[in-house]
């Protein structure tokens, strides 16, 4: 279970805003208990935007600075009430798994600008609070917003609860606790079994101390039918570690499943599985054109965390002809718009590789797994923009992690209403810690304003933290944006961003003392 609060954080950089929030119109819980923000019947009329069962996932740190992940589903009634649900979570350090926990009740509030909070009452894990930003009525950016944990993730309308995976799938998994990452492709028979699995992984051998990177790892597995909340279980037989990984899965719909490991012994991994579609044989042509990407993982620098984002262009056959990447690894100097190029290939099963040539970043070797060209990876119920792309697993001796690559067709600067979510793991006074926030971003004529709910685990939650800033196109690197944000207390986060065709932007902090990864997504007007 997630442990009682213990430490501190927010960053070295800014959000000492906790000390001056009244000036921002915000409030802070100061780490004293949950800060749910209310909800329930009779609240904002915007509550009607959320009506149905939603699948959610988050990854972050608990109050003991231990990596945890959680996935689940909950039913919202459109009037501010959570009527039921269930969830699975693990805490890596405590070897604790809370599997199939019931969400018995709860409340939520959606403010008129789309940001809000939800309070979930669970059978085993007590009360949890999520802060969220409604990107559209089917998709939310979320963070856990209480003093037991902080994290970032998403919540999506569940479009089918009784489906089982069928056909070809790609998946990626990341375990921050154990420096373990695994990605691959699988074929589901549509009833109970995965076959033809082939994966790639990196794992620290605890005996030798070496990081072992393996490709062409045979994978098999099985799965059970989902319950009324779209939850089922998956057993993945990973011959690369000669063991089985047990997962709970939660269906978003027939093509997307959120996974959280529940065996409590082999590893502590979480991720997602996406359909490859029904378009037939895949090839390098499947990943042809311009792409924005992100990646998050662990590395061998001072704090051991690396975030990156960028863009690349492929020729449709074998080459990554151009690109740029931002990398922040906590080493005191963020890399911005570093040129990348290289080679790539995609097999008929949708599995392939991207190998970048760069002397300024850790980004070199990636395994890549294509997804359905009709699927939006970051907003699965969006069927019109940002479709296709691939999942990424970084497999370098210097860094490992997971990410995504999404088609990039728009490189304009932002204008209008957006949601923003940031995850900033870091170190404060020597201890490992994390801050997450989620909320609004309004962009107009190069200026940005917004309001976020921020959780600095160990310090406390901060509601309705206002910020201002600037955003603009990088004049020398087409497709790259530069974002700068400040609260009344100082810098919130500065970041480079790469925009995809859906108007969503992958962010990597450029601050010298803050490693942060994040996303901006266009918010539907209501």
């Amino acid at each position: 279970m997630k442990k009682p609060i213990y430490s501190h954080l927010f960053s070295l950089i800014a959000i000492a805003g906790l000390l001056a929030l009244s000036a921002c119109g915000g409030s802070s819980s100061g780490g004293s208990g949950n800060n749910g923000g209310g909800g329930g019947t009779g609240g904002s009329t915007a509550n009607s935007r959320l009506n149905g069962t939603y699948t959610f996932y988050v990854n972050g740190l608990d109050s003991s600075a231990v990596p945890y992940s959680m996935a689940g589903a909950m039913t919202l009634d459109g009037s501010g009430n959570i009527t039921g649900g269930e969830q699975d979570l693990f805490d890596g350090g405590s070897s604790s798994v809370d599997s199939d926990d019931s969400i018995t009740s709860g409340t939520y509030t959606v403010n008129s600008d789309g940001h809000g909070t939800a309070t979930l009452n669970t059978t085993n894990d007590g009360t949890e609070v999520l802060a969220f930003m409604v990107v559209n009525d089917n998709h939310l950016l979320i963070t856990e917003f209480d003093n037991t944990a902080t994290s970032s993730g998403a919540m999506d309308m569940q479009t089918a609860t009784t489906v089982v995976p069928a056909g070809g799938f790609s998946f990626t998994l990341f375990d921050q606790n154990d420096s373990f990452t695994l990605g691959g492709v699988l074929t589901s028979d549509g009833s109970a079994s995965f076959t033809n699995g082939l994966g790639d992984q990196a794992v620290v051998d605890q005996t030798s101390g070496n990081l072992d990177i393996s490709n062409n790892v045979p994978l098999t597995g099985s799965f059970g039918v989902p319950d009324s909340f779209g939850r089922g279980t998956i057993t993945l037989n990973d011959t690369g570690i000669s063991s089985s990984l047990q997962f709970a899965y939660y269906a978003v719909g027939p093509e997307v499943y959120r996974l959280v490991e529940i065996d409590g012994t082999t590893a502590f991994a979480a991720g997602s599985m996406y359909s490859q579609g029904t378009g037939g044989a895949l090839s390098a042509q499947t990943l042809n054109g311009n792409f924005a990407f992100n990646n998050f993982g662990v590395d061998g620098t001072t704090i051991g965390i690396i975030a990156s984002s960028g863009e690349f262009t492929t020729d449709g056959s074998a080459l990554v002809t151009a690109g740029f990447a931002d990398v922040n690894d906590g080493s005191g100097t963020a890399v911005t718009a570093s040129a990348i190029s290289g080679a790539y290939g995609i097999g008929a099963n949708g599995r392939g590789s991207i190998n970048l040539s760069t002397t300024s970043t850790e980004l070199t070797n990636f395994a890549v797994y294509t997804v359905d060209p009709a699927l939006n990876i970051e907003d699965p119920n969006n069927t019109s923009t940002g479709l296709g792309g691939a999942l990424l697993v970084e497999l370098d001796t210097a860094a490992i992690g997971t990410g995504v690559a999404v088609p990039q067709a728009s490189t304009a600067t932002l204008s209008g209403s957006y949601g923003i979510g940031i995850q900033a793991p870091g170190v404060n006074s020597g201890n490992f810690d994390e801050t997450d926030f989620v909320g609004t971003l309004k962009a107009s004529s190069g200026k940005v304003t917004g309001t976020v709910n921020l959780n600095d685990i160990g310090v406390g939650t901060t509601s309705n933290l206002a910020y201002t800033g600037t955003i603009g196109a990088d004049s020398t690197h087409a497709g790259r944006l530069v974002l700068s944000t400040n609260t009344s207390a100082g810098v919130l986060v500065d970041a480079g961003g790469y925009e995809s065709s859906a108007g969503q932007v992958f962010l990597t902090s450029s601050n010298s003392n803050l490693v942060a990864t994040g996303i901006i997504q266009p918010a539907a007007a209501k």
């Binding site: 003991s64 600075a65 231990v66 890596g92 350090g93 606790n177 154990d178 420096s179 082939l198 790639d200 794992v203 620290v204 051998d205 605890q206 005996t207 101390g209 990081l211 072992d212 393996s214 490709n215 045979p218 011959t239 690369g240 000669s242 063991s243 082999t266 390098a284 662990v298 590395d299 061998g300 620098t301 001072t302 704090i303 051991g304 074998a318 690894d329 080493s331 005191g332 080679a343 290939g345 097999g347 599995r351 590789s353 991207i354 190998n355 970048l356 040539s357 760069t358 002397t359 850790e362 070199t364 070797n365 001796t397 210097a398 860094a399 170190v427 404060n428 006074s429 020597g430 490992f432």
Partner: protein
């Protein structure tokens, strides 16, 4: 706690498993980047040093790299040894693996690196004479005290994708 076994032989044939990525990608995977940026831990640059502990810094100032520091006196001068967030302040995870005092003689293994524009020594292990404390894996990843509970080993399936 489950320990995962090595199975080198069983799947060795899989190094020949077909994979459809173009040969250029495979060739590239072995040709790219021979040297990492100096800020990144590279085992090829690893050195072993005899030193004396000069100072322990559990809460660094903002000019220093995040995490704990062991300031070392070496024949070539003082060295800022970065030991990460866990080694000196691991009570969160129930243990305190690194207990040093000024004046103590140690042998450190690590890599000369930089934090911003300042030199730093990324410490992988410290031997105090009575034992060795591993702070990073051989490729430089920080060892989370909770990590060792979940031992994993892999087979060698070959590297070409």
């Amino acid at each position: 706690m489950k320990r995962l076994a090595v199975i080198f032989c069983l799947f060795s044939f899989l190094s020949l498993a077909p994979f459809a990525a173009p040969s250029i990608a495979n060739a590239q995977s072995t040709a790219v980047k021979s040297s990492l940026p100096v800020r990144v831990y590279a085992s090829s640059r690893e050195v072993t040093l005899q030193a004396t502990v000069d100072q322990i810094v559990k809460s660094p100032n903002k000019a220093m790299a995040p995490g704990g520091h062991v300031i070392l006196a070496t024949p070539s001068g003082r060295l800022d040894g970065a030991v990460g967030p866990y080694a000196l302040n691991s009570s969160k995870n129930g243990s305190k693996p690194l207990d040093l005092v000024p004046g103590q003689r140690v042998t450190v293994v690590g890599v000369h690196s930089t934090f911003g524009n300042s030199p730093i020594f990324l410490v992988r292990s410290i031997n105090t004479g009575s034992g060795t404390v591993n702070i990073r894996t051989k490729n430089g990843f920080l060892i989370n005290p909770s990590m060792a509970k979940h031992t994993t080993k892999v087979s060698n399936f070959g590297g070409a994708r």
